[in-house]
C-alpha cells in the first residue's frame, strides 16, 4: 500500500503538471491520442514480448510526431485526422489484446490500472519523471509561460518556442508512459486533464495554477486510493472519478463563472 500511495503522489504531480499544458494550449485531443497510442504501444510490447514501457513511449511519441505538426501549423481542430488516429490506436490496442497468446491478465492490468502492485522500480521511474517535469517547469518557467500564452508571440520575442512545444509533447509522452500501468490506458488521460481543468477554474495566476493542479492531482490519487481500499473497487477508476468530482466542485464554485463586467470591481485581481 505504501508503494501505491507514493505512486499516487508522484504520478498525480507529474500528470497534473502536464495537464496544465494540455488545458492552456487547448490541445486535449493530442493528449487523448497520445494516451491511447501509449496504451496500444504497451499492448504491442506485451504481445510481441518486449518491454511494454518502451512500446508505450515509442508509439505515443510517434502519435505526437504526426499530430504535433498539425497543431504547429495552427490547425487546432484537426478533427478528422485526430479522430482517425484516435480510433486507429484504440483499434490496434484491442487487436493486440486479441492476438496475445495465453491469459490476458497483463493486458487487463494495463486497462484498469494496477497501482496497488507497483514495485520499487515503478516508483523510481515515477519519481524521476515527476522531478524532471517539475524541474523543467521551474527552470524554464518564463519560456514555458510565454509559449503557452501565445507561441507565435513567444517566437517573435526571441524564445525558441517550437523547441519548447516539442519538449512539452515529449514530456507528455514520458509522463503518460510511466503512469500508464498505475492508472490504466483508458483512464490515464482523465488524471492528466481533470486536476488541471479544476485549477483553471480557480485562478488567474499561472504559477498558482500549476501548484493547484498538483495539489488536486495528489488529492485525487490519495482519496481515490482510500475509496478503492474501503470499498474494494478498482483504484484507477476511483482515482479518476475523484478527480472528476474535484473538477465539478471547482467549476461550480469558480469565480470565473461570474459575468464579466457585471460587478463594478474586477472579478479577481492577483498580484504577480
Amino acid at each position: 500500500m505504501q508503494n501505491a500511495i507514493l505512486s499516487g503522489v508522484l504520478g498525480g504531480i507529474a500528470c497534473a503538471t502536464i495537464g496544465v499544458f494540455v488545458v492552456l494550449m487547448h490541445m486535449p485531443f493530442i493528449g487523448v491520442c497520445m494516451s491511447h497510442a501509449a496504451f496500444a504501444g504497451a499492448l504491442l510490447g506485451l504481445w510481441l514480448g518486449f518491454n511494454p514501457l518502451i512500446g508505450a513511449f515509442g508509439v505515443s511519441l510517434a502519435a505526437a510526431a504526426v499530430i504535433g505538426p498539425l497543431a504547429d501549423r495552427g490547425e487546432l481542430n484537426p478533427e478528422t485526422s485526430v479522430g482517425v488516429i484516435f480510433s486507429l490506436m484504440l483499434g490496434l490496442a484491442f487487436l493486440f489484446m486479441g492476438l496475445m497468446p495465453g491469459t490476458k491478465s497483463g493486458a487487463m492490468e494495463l486497462l484498469w490500472g494496477s497501482i496497488l502492485t507497483n514495485t520499487r522500480s515503478d516508483i523510481t521511474l515515477l519519481g524521476i519523471t515527476a522531478v524532471v517535469v517539475v524541474g523543467i517547469v521551474i527552470i524554464f518557467y518564463k519560456e514555458i509561460q510565454a509559449t503557452i500564452f501565445h507561441r507565435d508571440m513567444a517566437l517573435s520575442v526571441g524564445i525558441p518556442a517550437t523547441l519548447f512545444l516539442y519538449g512539452i509533447l515529449f514530456l507528455t509522452g514520458a509522463t503518460i508512459t510511466v503512469t500508464l500501468r498505475s492508472i490504466g490506458g483508458l483512464l490515464i488521460f482523465s488524471l492528466i486533464l481533470n486536476p488541471a481543468a479544476a485549477a483553471y477554474q480557480l485562478t488567474y495566476n499561472m504559477a498558482r495554477m500549476f501548484l493547484l493542479a498538483a495539489v488536486f492531482g495528489v488529492l485525487s490519487s490519495l482519496t481515490g486510493l482510500l475509496f478503492s481500499y474501503l470499498f474494494n473497487v478498482p483504484s484507477g477508476a476511483t482515482i479518476v472519478v475523484t478527480s472528476s468530482v474535484i473538477f465539478m466542485l471547482a467549476a461550480i464554485f469558480s469565480p470565473k463563472r461570474k459575468i464579466k463586467g457585471w460587478q463594478q470591481k474586477p472579478v479577481e485581481e492577483q498580484s504577480s
Partner: protein
C-alpha cells in the same frame, strides 16, 4: 555610416504553402517610418515576417541590422526586432495579468536561465505608463477589450527595447476610437524614440499621415513606393485595388466627410 538597417534584395518568400513574396527589394534607413498598404494577399504580413526571421526565404537575400538572415540566427535577431501582430482573441480565462504579458517582451533578451529582476519590472511599468494601461496592470489579460489588448501588445513590444518596430495591421477589428488612439500612440513612439518603424495596414484611413514613405504592394510584389502624397493618389489606388477611379473618388470623399 548610412548602412540601411533593413536590406531586402529580390526576396522570394513562402508563407505556409504559398509563395507570398515573388521578388521584393526594399531598403529601410534607421529611424524611417514606412507605411505598407495593399489589398489582401499582397504579401504585407510576409514582408514583416522576413524582417523578423519567421518567414521562409526561398531566394534572394535579407540583411537586418547588419546580419544576414539564416536558419541559425533567427532567435538572436528576433530579440532586437519588435513585432506587434494583429489583435487576437485571448482566452478570457487565461491565467496571466497585463503586467506579466508585457514582461514576456523581455523574456527573450533575458536569456534562458535568468529571471526578471527589479530593473525589468521597472521597464515594464514604464511601458505600461506610456501606453496608458497602468490602471489595468493587474487585470487578467483576457478581460481587456481589443483596443486595450493592442496597447498591451505595443507595451510588450517596447518592453523588449527593440531596434526595429514592426506592426502588422494593429488596428484591424478595432473601433474608430481605439484605431485613432493606436495610430497616435505609434506616431508618438516613433517620434520620441526614432525607432525604425514598419506599419502594415489594409485600411487606408489607418495609415499614419506622418509616414516617411509609403509602399504599395500587390500580388507579392512592391507595386510602387515613395512619399505618401505622391503615392496615395486616386489613380494609384484605383489601379492597386482594381476599382474604377470614380468609385475611389467617391469613397475617399465619404471618408473625409465621415
Amino acid at each position: 555610416m548610412n548602412t540601411p538597417v533593413i536590406q531586402i534584395d529580390n526576396a522570394v518568400v513562402s508563407y505556409r504553402e504559398d509563395v507570398a513574396l515573388r521578388g521584393v527589394s526594399l531598403e529601410v534607413q534607421a529611424g524611417e517610418f514606412i507605411g505598407i498598404v495593399g489589398p489582401n494577399g499582397a504579401g504585407k504580413t510576409t514582408i514583416l515576417t522576413i524582417v523578423n526571421g519567421l518567414g521562409k526565404l526561398i531566394h534572394g537575400t535579407v540583411r537586418v541590422l547588419g546580419h544576414s538572415l539564416s536558419p541559425g540566427n533567427g532567435h538572436s535577431l528576433r530579440k532586437r526586432v519588435g513585432y506587434v501582430a494583429q489583435a487576437q482573441n485571448i482566452d478570457p480565462r487565461m491565467p496571466m495579468n497585463v503586467r506579466e504579458v508585457v514582461m514576456i517582451g523581455r523574456y527573450g533578451i533575458l536569456g534562458l536561465f535568468r529571471r526578471p529582476g527589479k530593473h525589468d519590472w521597472r521597464v515594464v511599468d514604464e511601458m505600461l505608463e506610456l501606453v496608458g494601461m497602468t490602471r489595468l496592470a493587474l487585470r487578467p489579460i483576457g478581460h481587456l477589450s481589443g483596443g486595450e489588448q493592442q496597447r498591451v501588445a505595443i507595451a510588450r513590444c517596447l518592453a523588449q527595447e527593440p531596434e526595429i518596430f514592426l506592426l502588422d495591421e494593429p488596428t484591424a477589428s478595432l473601433d474608430w476610437r481605439a484605431k485613432t488612439d493606436i495610430i497616435d500612440l505609434v506616431k508618438l513612439i516613433h517620434d520620441t524614440r526614432h525607432l525604425t518603424t514598419m506599419f502594415v495596414t489594409h485600411d487606408l484611413s489607418a495609415l499614419p499621415v506622418a509616414c516617411d514613405r509609403v509602399v504599395l504592394m500587390k500580388d507579392g510584389l512592391i507595386w510602387s513606393m515613395g512619399l505618401p502624397q505622391q503615392q496615395l493618389t486616386d489613380d494609384n489606388l484605383s489601379r492597386l485595388y482594381d476599382m474604377p477611379i470614380t468609385a475611389v473618388r467617391k469613397r475617399r470623399t465619404e471618408e473625409i466627410l465621415a
